[in-house]
């Protein structure tokens, strides 16, 4: 399940971007986004998801459960 950034809480500090081992985070027009196709939750790289660990605002990098495959019954 990939992580996503809650844009309304993101301060655009860019701390997460260089930490992502999958280069899944990029800035678009001042906001940062995680490419769900590239995110691996850092499994195989680090013990904890790097974007979550470095983000200055709690609960801003969160698991994205909205993708169809994670919905109940799908």
């Amino acid at each position: 399940m990939p992580f996503k950034i809650i844009a309304a809480q993101c301060t655009s500090c860019s701390a997460c971007e260089p930490e992502c081992p999958n280069v899944a985070i990029a800035e678009k027009g001042g906001t940062f986004m995680i490419d769900p196709k590239k995110c691996t939750e850092c499994v195989g790289h680090f013990d904890e998801p790097q974007c979550v660990a470095v983000c200055p605002v709690d609960n801003t990098c969160v698991l994205d459960t909205s993708l169809a495959r994670y919905q109940a019954g799908s």
Partner: protein, 517 residues
């Protein structure tokens, strides 16, 4: 290169832009081997500094109190990311009226920053220092920070480069800092005891892992002190910033002062915590109080024996531009720069700075007269406030002053101990009638206030509050005038005309000083 020749060998190495930095032992003014009585911050202080140290600080407004009257600095906000969380910091806010360290109006790429530096240096010839201080931590953004320094050094080699960091990543970047001729590094050190650190830092991000509590603070303090030692061993001047947080680290900062002195720090800047619920910081929300003026001064005084104190800090933003008492950042937005033609004129900058040096020499000569004035005034000490626009003169009207400089008068002379903000900017609507009360609260610990001019109403109110308004030294030098007044004050006490009473405490206004553009 446009800078004057330096005599010291290590300075020459730096001037020549060589990678080999001096590894000569750093001779800060706080070194015990130099004995006591050294006063970096005082107008006459430079005579006590090693020549090569004075060369480095004489045009840096933050490293020399005397220089801050003449020279300006600018910060470029190229470093948004941070690697630690501090309970006194919240960078989510970005309002033009918001004025705390860690807050900026716009972030720049290194290329935009270099262009901005050229524009500012061309417009403000006394701008001598380019600093990177955030809004996050410069060394948590090493590529952006060092790229900016490289570009600026290429375009304007006469500018001094300066860096402010929390120190966590510092030991990893010492070689690059030395290679790029960054002569000044400030490290924010609030504790050397991890138990205390755990109350200030909720977490750090280090080696791909988030650490919390005492473990986080232990790593942080070890990295900070290690980085400090590595820098001073290379002859790079280090200033230590500490945030004074009452009941958390206030008394502990004396230990911090000792620890950083023993590792070669040059200057210690103890700043009052900026705390208010509206800032949304952990401390602000929890109701952690800021220190009072008296508490701050007492702590600074007790650390002074250890290390020289910076007392002229205005706790500026990470995109501040100008003299320390002003902020001209609104004149140099990216939008405005896009349409302007920038020509970097080293000649006119040098000419201007030569004139500044000439004025400084004259002022220093005048200062020599003072020694004679300041003899045998007994043990009495009083604080006085001064309204000034700079140049060491009493040249501001009471009603126009946005801040007052505070001096301690004693048989040792007039010693600058800090400034008090009285501007009403972004304070949530004080009415005009509340203004005088605000000013009196800010200088309530002073026996007198020196102004160029004052109206009848505020004069009466000040007298009622026990603060003597003094306007007979209008446009005269601060040090000479305040000591002359002090002599008459003591005479009046001796003759029984007045009674000497201790003053109360004063309030420290929150936030850095900025002006509406």
């Amino acid at each position: 290169m446009g800078t004057p020749m330096h005599r010291g060998s290590s300075s020459d190495a730096i001037e020549d832009g060589e990678i080999t930095q001096s590894i000569a032992e750093h001779k800060g003014c706080g070194k015990s081997s130099r004995g006591g009585g050294v006063r970096c911050g005082s107008p006459a202080g430079h005579s006590d500094l090693p020549a090569e140290t004075w060369e480095k600080v004489k045009k840096h407004p933050c490293y020399s109190e005397e220089a801050h009257h003449h020279y300006a600095r600018m910060h470029v906000a190229v470093a948004p990311a941070c690697n630690i969380q501090c309970n006194y910091c919240n960078r989510k806010y970005d309002c033009a009226n918001e004025s705390r360290p860690g807050v900026v109006s716009e972030r720049l790429t290194p290329e935009q920053a270099a262009r901005k530096v050229m524009a500012v240096a061309s417009t403000i010839p006394q701008m001598t220092v380019l600093g990177i201080a955030g809004p996050g931590d410069p060394l948590a953004n090493p590529e952006k920070t060092f790229k900016t320094f490289e570009l600026v050094h290429k375009l304007a080699p006469d500018l001094k480069l300066c860096l402010s960091t929390n120190g966590l990543a510092l030991p990893d970047h010492i070689d690059t800092i030395a290679k790029l001729n960054v002569e000044h590094v400030t490290i924010t050190i609030n504790m050397i005891n991890p138990e205390i650190g755990a109350k200030i830092y909720p977490w750090i991000f280090y080696n791909h892992k988030r650490y919390t509590g005492v473990q986080a603070a232990k790593i942080l303090t070890e990295r900070q002190l290690q980085g400090l030692e590595m820098l001073t061993r290379r002859g790079i001047l280090c200033k230590i910033n500490s945030v004074m947080i009452p009941e958390i680290n206030d008394r502990h900062l004396v230990e911090v002062s000792k620890a950083v002195k023993s590792r070669g720090a040059f200057l210690h800047n103890i700043m009052p915590l900026i705390s208010s619920p509206k800032y949304g910081t952990v401390f602000g929300v929890k109701g952690q109080r800021s220190p009072t003026a008296l508490e701050l001064k007492a702590l600074q005084d007790s650390c002074e024996g250890e290390l020289h104190m910076m007392r002229h800090c205005r706790q500026c933003r990470a995109d501040a531009i100008g003299l320390l008492g002003e902020d001209r950042s609104a004149e140099f937005t990216t939008e405005k720069l896009a349409t302007s033609d920038i020509k970097y004129d080293v000649e006119s900058r040098n000419a201007y700075q030569a004139k500044v040096e000439d004025d400084r020499a004259k002022a220093a000569a005048k200062h020599a007269d003072l020694v004679e004035l300041a003899v045998s005034l007994g043990d009495t000490k009083v604080l006085v406030a001064v309204a000034t626009k700079g140049s060491g003169l009493i040249n501001e009207h009471f009603g126009h002053a946005k801040e007052f400089q505070v001096y301690e008068l004693s048989s040792g002379g007039a010693k600058f101990i800090g400034h008090r903000r009285v501007d009403l900017y972004c304070q949530g609507g004080y009415a005009e009638e509340g203004k005088l009360e605000t000013i009196i609260r800010a200088i309530n610990d002073c026996h007198a206030v020196f102004i160029a001019k004052i109206g009848g109403c505020p004069r009466a109110e000040l007298v009622k509050a026990g603060v003597e308004p003094v306007d007979q030294y209008a446009y005269e030098p601060i040090d000479k005038s305040t000591i002359a007044w002090f002599k008459t004050y003591l005479d009046r006490v001796t003759s029984g005309a007045i009674k000497h009473v201790e003053r109360g405490d004063a309030a420290i206004r929150q936030g850095a000083l900025i002006f509406a553009a």
